[in-house]
C-alpha cells in the first residue's frame, strides 16, 4: 500500500519526534509513505486570517502535487488536514484562480482516520508485541481534525473514536471523557499566553479527573500546548503522546527512551513504572 504524505511544517520542527514515529510505525505496518514532492506550507491560521485567496492557493499547490501522484493524501497534522479540505471545497466552488492544475478530487485523510480503518486496526493488532494494557489514557482530538463537521466529515465530532480505536488496538486502557474536542488554545499563546494556559490546564485537570495517566493526541499544536504548559508544574507530569509514539511503543520498536526526550512532560518515569520501557 502506498500513500502520499503531507507532513506539514511542524513535523520538520517542533514535532520532529512525531514525524519520526510516523515513519517508523508505517514501516512496521508495511505501508509506504511517499512525501509529496517539494511540499509547501498550508498557510495555517495566518493565511486563513489574512487572505482568503492565499488560504485556498497555498494548500492547492500541495493538492496539485498530490494529484500527479494519484495517491490518497495522508495528513498527520490536524490543521494541515483542515486547511487542505477547506481548500478542496473552495477549489470546487471555482471562486479563485488557482495557478496550478488541480482537481480537488484527491482524497485527503487525516492520519487517525486512516489508521482506524478496520483493516488497519487488524494490521496494528498483529504488530502489537507489547500491549500497553497498564497504561490509562484519554484521547484528545482538538478542534481542527473534527470541526466543522461539514468540512472534516466527523459526524461524531463531540465523541470521535479514531484515536480511541487505535489506542485500544495498541492495548492501552482508553478512558472515555467529555473533553475530546475542546480547544487547547491553538496558536494564541504567541500573544496571549494566559489564554492557552487556562485552556490547556483545564484539559489537564479534566484528564486527571477522568483518571487517565496520559493523553494521546495527533495534532502537533495540541501536543506542544498541552506539553509545554506543564513546564513549571510541580505535580507529576501527564505525558502527551502522539498516537504513533504509542503505537511504536506497543510494536516494541527496538529503541530507547531518547525518543521521548523532546517531551517537556517527561513520559519516561511513567513508562518505566508501567514496565513499558
Amino acid at each position: 500500500m502506498k500513500l502520499s504524505f503531507y507532513p506539514g511544517c511542524s513535523l520538520e520542527g517542533m514535532a520532529n519526534d512525531y514525524c519520526e514515529s510516523i515513519y517508523a510505525v508505517f514501516k512496521t505496518l508495511g505501508i509506504d509513505l511517499v512525501e509529496i514532492e517539494d511540499w509547501s506550507c498550508c498557510g495555517a491560521t495566518a493565511a486563513h486570517s489574512l487572505s482568503e485567496v492565499m488560504s485556498v492557493i497555498l494548500p492547492a499547490r500541495n493538492l496539485a502535487a498530490a494529484d500527479k501522484m494519484g495517491l490518497d493524501i495522508i495528513c498527520p497534522c490536524s490543521l494541515c488536514f483542515n486547511r487542505l479540505l477547506f481548500s478542496q471545497k473552495m477549489i470546487k466552488k471555482k471562486i479563485f484562480h488557482i495557478p496550478w492544475h488541480v482537481t480537488g478530487d484527491t482524497r485527503v485523510l487525516d492520519m487517525t482516520r486512516f489508521l482506524a480503518k478496520p483493516s488497519i486496526i487488524k494490521l496494528i493488532k498483529q504488530c502489537v508485541l507489547k500491549p500497553l494494557d497498564s497504561l490509562k489514557v484519554v484521547c484528545y482530538y482538538g478542534c481542527q481534525m473534527v470541526r466543522p463537521p461539514k468540512i472534516t466529515g466527523y459526524a461524531d465530532y463531540e465523541n470521535p473514536q479514531t484515536l480511541d480505536h487505535i489506542s485500544a488496538a495498541a492495548g492501552a486502557r482508553v478512558i472515555d471523557w467529555s473533553y475530546k474536542s475542546t480547544c487547547c488554545g491553538a496558536s494564541i499563546g504567541i500573544g496571549r499566553r494566559e489564554i492557552v494556559e487556562s485552556l490547556s490546564k483545564r484539559i489537564l485537570q479534566k484528564t486527571q479527573q477522568a483518571g487517565a495517566e496520559a493523553i494521546v493526541v495527533s495534532c502537533p499544536l495540541c501536543q506542544s500546548n498541552l506539553d509545554i504548559v506543564q513546564k513549571d508544574r510541580s505535580e507529576p507530569p501527564t505525558p502527551i503522546f502522539y498516537i504513533t509514539e504509542l503505537l511504536r511503543l506497543s510494536f516494541n520498536y527496538k529503541g530507547n527512551p531518547k525518543w521521548f526526550k523532546m517531551h517537556v512532560a517527561d513520559p519516561v518515569p511513567l513508562l518505566k513504572a508501567k514496565g513499558l520501557l
Binding site: E158, N159, I175, D176, W177, S178, Q209, G211
Partner: protein, 1019 residues
Amino acid sequence: MESYLKDPVGKVIVIGGGIGGIQCALDLADTGFYVYLVEKSHTLGGTMARLDKTFPTNDCSTCMFSPKMVHVASHANIEILCLSRLLELNGAPGRFTARIEKQPRYINEEKCIACGECAEKCPIKVPDPFNGELGTRKAAFLTFPQAVPLKYAIDAKNCLYFTKGKCGICKKICPAEAVEYDQKPEILQIEAGAVILSTGFEPALTEMEGEYGYGRYKNVVTSLQYERMLSVTGPYGGHIRRPSDGKIPRKVAWIQCVMSRDLARNRPFCSSVCCMYAAKQAVLTRSHEPDTQTTIYYMDIRAHGKGFDQYIDRARKRHGVRTKRSMISVVYLNPENDNLIIETFDHRLNRKKEEAYDLVVLSTGFKPSDDFIDLAKQLGLVTNPYGFLSTEFDEPVSTSKPGVFVCGGIESPKDIPETVIQAGAAAAEASILINVARNSEIVCEKVPDEAPMDITPRVGVLICHCGTNIAGVVNIQNVLDYVKNLPQVTFATDFLFTCSTETQQTIIQLIKEHRLNRIVVAACSPKTHEPLFQDTLRKAGLNPYLFDMASIRDQCAWVHGNDPEKATKKSKALIRASVARAVQLEPLYDSSYRTDNHGLVIGGGVAGMTAALTVADQGFHVHLVEKTDRLGGFARNLKFTLEGNSPPKLIRYLIERITHHPNITVYLRSRLISHNGHVGAFYGTVQNENGPVPIRYGAVIVATGGRPYEPTEYLYGKNKRVLTQVEFSKRLVEDSSWASRLNRIVMIQCVGSRGPDFPFCSRVCCAAAVKNSIQLKEINPGAKIIILYRDVRTFGFKELYYLKARQKGVLFFRYIPEEKPKVYDDNGNLTVDFTDRSLNRNFRVEPDLVVLSSGIRPNEGVKQIARLLKLSMVNEGFFLEAHVKLRPVEFTTSGVFLAGLAHSPRFIEESVTMAKSAGQQAMKILCKKEMTISAAKAEVDPEKCSACLLCVRVCPYGAPFLNEDGVSQIPPSSCAGCGICVSECPSKAITLKHCTDDQILAKIDALLEPTDSSFLFPI
C-alpha cells in the same frame, strides 16, 4: 368513485391507538359507524399513556385516560386490532379494502386472564421500551398495568423458547392455557368507507445523534424517559432517581429545543409542546422533591395555549423553577460523580460558568415513526419535508388522498387537547363522507336484564391502590382489614387499578359469586369514574344506582399526602360512610324522551359556519344565529395568512355553501334571547328585527368569536402612524405603493396580552408580525423591520416562517416586561426607545410606522350567552370548557359545545378544526332518536306540597311549575338534580332521588361514628 359514495360502507378504519385514534373511534362509533381501531403495538395508549401528569392542571394522565380506554375497549362498535399494521389500501372513498397484518401475541387474547404468572416466572429480563429502556421487563410482559386489551404478550425477539428453543415455562405454568407459541401472523381483509390516520409521533432524538451526550452519559435522559421516571408505573415507581446510581437528583436541568428549531439538523420547526411539558416536569419535580433545584434552559417560552402563561408564572414564582434564557451547546460529564456539567456564559461575571447537575433532561422534539414513513409511501400520501402529514388551512384534516383523513401528532406536533379537537374533526369528515351508511353496520349492545336480588343489603367494597397514588399514602391492607369487619359488608377486596378493563370483568364475577347488591368503590373520585363502575354494575345485572364511591385518592391520599396515618383513618371513615349510604340505596330507573334533531349554532363566523355545515352535511337541520348583518366574523379582518392562504376566499366559500344549504336557516341581526329545555330537547327564542322566532333544537354550538383588542397604549389612536397588525396588513394588500415607500418600521408584540390586566397570550400575534413583515419585505426588500418581542411563539411549522423572516433580514429584539419599549412623538418624529439585553444596549429608532401586535379579546355580549345557557367562563372572558385536556369542545352543561375564538385565541385553521369537532360532538346527540335521562332527579310529594312556590323561585334551571292540581311538579328532563329545591322546601315535600335525606343522614351519622368497628348502623 362516485358510485361508492352513493352506497358506502358504514365502517371506518382508524390507524393509531393513542388519544387521537381513541377519540376519533369514539366520535365515530357514537354517531352510528363501526370502527376498526388499528394499533401497531401491544396496547392502546400511544404517547399519552406514557405521560405522568399533564399541564396545565397537573391531572394524572392515567386517571384521565384510563376511563377513555376502558370505554373504547367495551364499546360494542369499536373493534381493536393490536399488533396490526396497514399493508395496502385499495378501492376508493366510500369503499376501501384494507389489507392488515396482525402480528402474533403468542398469548391467546380470549384465554388470557392477565394473572401475570407468565411474567412472574419468565427468566428473561430485557430493557423495557415503554419505560424508555430505563427499567426492565420480562420477555412475557404486559406493557403497563392499564393496558388495553389487558392481555399479556410474549416478545419473541428475546424469549428463550423462540431464540434458543428452550424454556417454555410460561406455557407450562399458564393456568388459562393461553400461551400459544405456534401463532402465526394473520392477514385480514377489511372493508371501510373511510380511513383516518392518527399514528402520532415519537421522540426525534436517538442515540445516533450524539447530542448532549444522550446515549453516552447515563444521567442524560429524554423528556419522555423523564415522564416515565415521574410515573408511578414507571421504572422507579414514581420516585425520581437518577439512572446511574439510583440517588435522588438534587439539581435537574432541562435543555429546550433539542431536535427542534434546528435548521442545522434539518429540523427547523418547533415541536410546540416542549416548553409546557418541561415546566410541568419541573413543577412535578419540585413537588416530589422540594429540595431539588430545577433549571430550564430555553430561548423562547412558548406558552401559547389557554392559561399556559399563568402556569409558567406559577412554576417560576410559586414552585421556584429557575428559567434561564440561554441555549446549551454541550453537556460534559464529571466522571467522579456522574454529574453533568453545563457551561454557560455569565454576562454579569463576564466569564464562562460551569454548573453541575445530577440529571439533565433533554426536551426533545418529535418526528413521525419510521413505520409511518413507509405507510405514507405505500398510500401515496404527500408529506411535508419533515415527514408530517401537514394539511391545508381550509381542510385541516384532509390528506392528499380522498377518503383518508388525519389527526393528531402526525399532522404536526401538538398537545392533547389539540389532538382531541382534530380527532373530532377527522371523525366529522369521515362521517360526512359516508353519512348515508350511518347505522348500517353498528351492533346494538345488549345489557343483561337486572337479576333478582336479595332483600337484605349485601355490600361489596372494592378498594383501589391507584398504582401508588393511593397505596403510596394510605395503608390499604389496614383499611381492607377494617372494612371486612364492618357488619354490613359482605365482601371486600383490593385492586391495583380498579378501573382497568380486566378488573371490570372481575367485579362482574364477584357480584355474581357473592350475590352482592350494593357496591362501594373506594378510589379516585366519582367525578371521573362513577359512570364507568355504574356501567359495570349494569353488565352484572345490578341496578346502577346501587353504587357509592368513597374518594380516598382525592380526599385522602392527595390532600393528606404528608400524613399517611390520618389519610388511612379518613379513608376508613369515608368508606364507612359510603357503606352506610349504600345500605340505604334503592334501585332507580332512567327514563327517556324523543330528541329534537335540529342543531343551533350561535355565531356566524368561520367557526360557526363550519360547525353548521358539519351538522347540516350529515343531514340534520341547523339554525345559525348571527348578531351582525353579515356572516364572516373576525376572519373578515384578515387578508392573508402566514402560509399564504386567503381567509376572504374561505369566507366567500362558506357563505356560498351556507346560503344555499337546504338544511341551514340563517338568522342575521339576531340574538338568542331565551333558552330552555334540556339536552336533546331544547327550545328557545331568536329575536330579530321582525320579532321573536321560537325554535327547537337538540344541541347548541357556541361560536361567539372574538374581537381585536383596541390598544390604548403606544400612542395608538393619537398618532396616525401607529397601526395595529390588522390595519397594517389591510393596507399592505390594498396599497403596495405605500408599502414600497416605507423605510423603517417597528412592530411591538404582546400589546394588550400577557399583561397584568389580560394575562393570556393571544397565540396568533407572533405569526401575524412574521407574516406582515415577510409580506412587506417581499414588496419592499429594503425596508428595515424591527420586531420587539418578549418570546417569539411561532409554534409548529410556523417556525419556518420566523426563520424566513429572519433570513430576509427582519430584526428581532427581545424586550423584558419591566422595560417595555417607549413610543413618543419627538416634534413630529415618531420615536421608539427600547433596550436589548442580549447586547445590553439602549436603542432609538425613528420609524415611519409603529405596528402594534394587539391581541384577541372575547366578543362582547358573551356574558349574556353564558347566563342564558348557564356556561362557565374564565377571568379573561373566554368560555371554560368541560375539561382542558379531554373535553376541549364541550361544556359541563350537556348538549352545549364550544368552537373558535370563544374558547381562546386561535388561528383560522384551528377554528375550522374545532368547529368540525364541535359539530361532531353535537352529532352524537342529534343522531340519536331518543335521550336517556338519569333517575337521580327531584320529585315532589303532592301530599306534602303547600304550593309556596319557593322551589319555582330558587331553581336555577327553571324546572318546577305549578301543575293542574295546584301543586309543584318537576319534570325530570328539566331537572339538573342539583338539590337546591330540596333543601329550600319548607314542607320537606321534595326528595332528590339517589340523594335522599335518609341516605345523606346515614352517611353523616356513619362519618361521626367512633372509629372502632363496634358501632351500629342507623338502619
